[in-house]
């Protein structure tokens, strides 16, 4: 049976699991189940991933990248040594490390993966994640939501309806989902969250707290230099973790700074009562989300059977305490908050290949998708109205249509602009794509235009606009980040990634932009892009044609051989016109010979 990796690509830690003989297995290496989501360049410019990178971070923060997940979907890039990388590329390095870990453990290469994302990730962030997978050489068969994945590992009672509240507070993101399990069907009723809130923010608050006190005492700001800042940050991270179990912890760092030639040491005791007020506003923010998720699901706290905690930061005692108080019921922590997301992803992978390993999953889209139109906005007529087509919390896959009308007599074209978000004004929402439907019939205003949204399980949206009168139709598939990135850009990124890993294996190879491509084609000449494109298509077509040859009748086979010969000659002589014409003919012949079924 085919194996699909289940990957939790977290802000702080990443985990990979598989489903083997009906059992979920977290793949560990050197006894470590988690891979810190840290990428760095070692002293000899070798690539470091995971613990080694994390270890060198305090020493070389400028050569180390952490928490890249918080930048996913943005245009921001990060520096690593002399090179800049997109967030996708850094994530791809992590994914590829996990993929190689799986290959070592299983003795074969696994190419397919289910990757999890926060439920509240938007289209761009999801696409960036998918792209990171592609860069890492993975076929991302599905992107699923983290709380949903976690709920798949929960073992429900078979004969009773159960409602779970999955509270997922990770390193950098927060999600809450209300999940209903009944007769083998797991339905997500609602999701809420904040993609910029997590344990990292706790660290930051604690860091500021410690540094402020230190500054008051010594007049030195420890945040001013990168190394001392990262040392303190590492210390407070550890302190935060300990504060989950102890009432007091000491933060001690020697020679953390210098003042007038005198070395300064940091020595501070932090108590829970001191720490908790710092983070309470953030936790309260999550509670607002919890409340909204409950409202969306039309449920009250009483109707929740179980609270499931996911994500490292959910271990914080204050989270337990406040949730328990607010929901009025005990909090359970029987699933492992660090591993369950990846395990759920592996289960989902099993469901995809058709194993009967778990319940049927019905997930939702947490954001509304709509079309810009003319209408009433806060009591004013405005052309920036957002008319929802697929409302948030709609089950996936979903298809919805909405009828719109032209605003003026004789209107020749209509624009269909698609936005994601809850605001009634499109300008406060995320623009995800759009097109013009041109060539409308010459009629009065009120010409009906049907706009249809098809949102598939991966959140890929297809928009179709049809003029009812004439059947004039236009379709657009929105895969935002992809289209922006595809093509040569992606090729370059992949090469760079290859180079980075090559350097890793040789342990000394420099990582730089001018990596000599060892396996470049025998003719090292550079083709002009058009010709290169034609050659690419020709090669693809010829291999297809050759597959068809054995089953072909004599005449067709003869014609095909002739055409292939022509094409080969044209490629050799770089005769583009001849190549194009032979290409077109061969294309036609291949179409003719293919079986329709």
């Amino acid at each position: 049976m085919e194996i699909i990796l289940g990957i939790d690509l977290g802000t702080t830690n990443s985990v990979v699991s598989i489903l083997r003989d009906g059992q979920v297995e977290v793949l560990a290496e050197d006894g470590q189940k988690i891979l810190p989501s840290v990428v760095g360049l070692g002293p000899n410019k070798e690539l470091l991933v995971g613990f080694p990178a994390q270890n060198q971070w305090t020493l070389a923060p400028d050569r180390t990248v952490r928490s890249i997940k918080r930048k996913m979907g943005s245009d921001e890039t990060v520096r690593l040594g002399e090179q800049t990388y997109t967030p996708q590329e850094i994530s791809a390095i992590l994914l590829r490390t996990l993929k190689e870990r799986a290959a070592r453990q299983l003795g074969e290469e696994i190419r397919k993966a289910v990757i999890t994302v926060p439920a509240f990730f938007n289209e761009q962030q999801r696409e960036a994640t998918r792209e990171a997978g592609e860069l890492a050489g993975l076929e991302v068969v599905r992107i699923i939501n983290e709380p949903t994945a976690a709920s798949l590992t929960y073992n429900p009672s078979p004969d009773r309806l159960e409602r779970l509240l999955v509270y997922d507070l990770g390193g950098g993101t927060f999600d809450v989902s209300i999940v209903q399990i009944e007769q083998g069907v797991v339905e997500v009723l609602s999701s809420h969250g904040d993609t910029q809130l997590g344990g990292d923010d706790f660290d930051q608050l604690l860091l500021d707290h410690v540094c402020d006190r230190f500054q008051e005492e010594h007049g030195v700001d420890l945040r001013a230099t990168l190394t001392s800042k990262s040392r303190v940050l590492k210390a407070v991270e550890e302190a935060k973790r300990q504060l989950s179990f102890e009432a007091f912890v000491a933060v001690e760092l020697e020679f953390v700074a210098e003042k007038a030639g005198v070395p300064l040491h940091l020595k501070r005791e932090i108590s829970r009562p001191e720490y908790e007020p710092l983070i309470e506003p953030l936790i309260n923010k999550t509670l607002v989300c919890v409340d909204e998720a409950l409202s969306d699901a039309k449920l009250t706290a009483k109707q929740i059977d179980r609270v499931v905690l996911v994500g490292g930061a959910s271990r914080t005692p204050l989270v337990h305490q406040l949730l328990q108080e607010q929901l009025g019921q005990p909090i359970h922590a029987e699933v492992d908050p660090d591993l369950c997301v990846s395990m759920g992803a592996a289960i989902q992978g099993g469901l995809i290949v058709g194993l009967d390993v778990g319940p049927v999953l019905v997930d939702i889209t947490p954001h509304t998708l709509g079309v810009q139109c003319l209408g009433d906005l806060h009591g004013y007529r405005s052309s920036y109205c957002c008319a929802p087509v697929i409302e948030r919390n709609t089950a996936l896959p979903a298809s919805r249509s909405e009828v719109f009308y032209t605003a003026q007599d004789g209107q020749k074209a209509a624009m269909v602009e698609v936005f994601q978000g809850e605001d009634r004004d499109v300008r406060h929402n995320e623009h995800v794509g759009g097109f013009h439907l041109e060539g409308l019939a010459e009629t009065k205003q009120g010409n009906e235009i049907l706009v249809r949204f098809d949102l598939d399980l991966d959140g890929i949206l297809t928009v179709t606009a049809t003029e009812k009168l004439t059947g004039l139709e236009k379709t657009l598939t929105i895969e935002n980040a992809m289209s922006r990135f595809r093509g040569e850009h992606q090729e370059a990124a992949r090469t760079r990634l290859e180079a980075a890993f090559a350097g890793d294996r040789q342990a000394a190879g420099p990582l730089s932009a001018e990596v000599p491509s060892a396996e470049s084609s025998p003719t090292s000449e550079v083709l002009p892009p058009e010709l290169a494109g034609a050659v690419g298509r020709a090669n693809e077509l010829m291999s297809k044609a050759e597959e068809l040859l054995p089953g072909a009748n004599e005449q067709d086979a003869g014609e095909m051989r002739d055409l292939i010969g022509r094409l080969r000659r044209a490629i050799e002589t770089r005769a583009q016109a001849e190549m194009e014409s032979a290409l077109a003919e061969l294309d036609e012949l291949v179409f003719y010979m293919q079986d329709a079924v």
Partner: protein
Amino acid sequence: MRDPYQVLDVSADVDDAALRRRYLELVRRYPPERCPQQFAEVREAYEQLRDPARRLERELFKAGGCEILDDVIAGMRSKLQERRIATETLLSLAER
């Protein structure tokens, strides 16, 4: 859009519990992973019927229009398209 009762294969006087049972049964039969098309249809039909008041309100005040006929026509076309045409009939169409 097809008639939701037909999609779920339930009668018009189905009670809430039976409707829910039927929906879950169909979801298990057509998981979104493997049968996205059928699932979407089942889900949409269920959404239409799950709130009895909304269901009734729709039926009371909704004056259907051309879209019903468009559906019927499309349905008939689709049904006709499924029937195999005898080769002789087909070839007789060649005459101008």
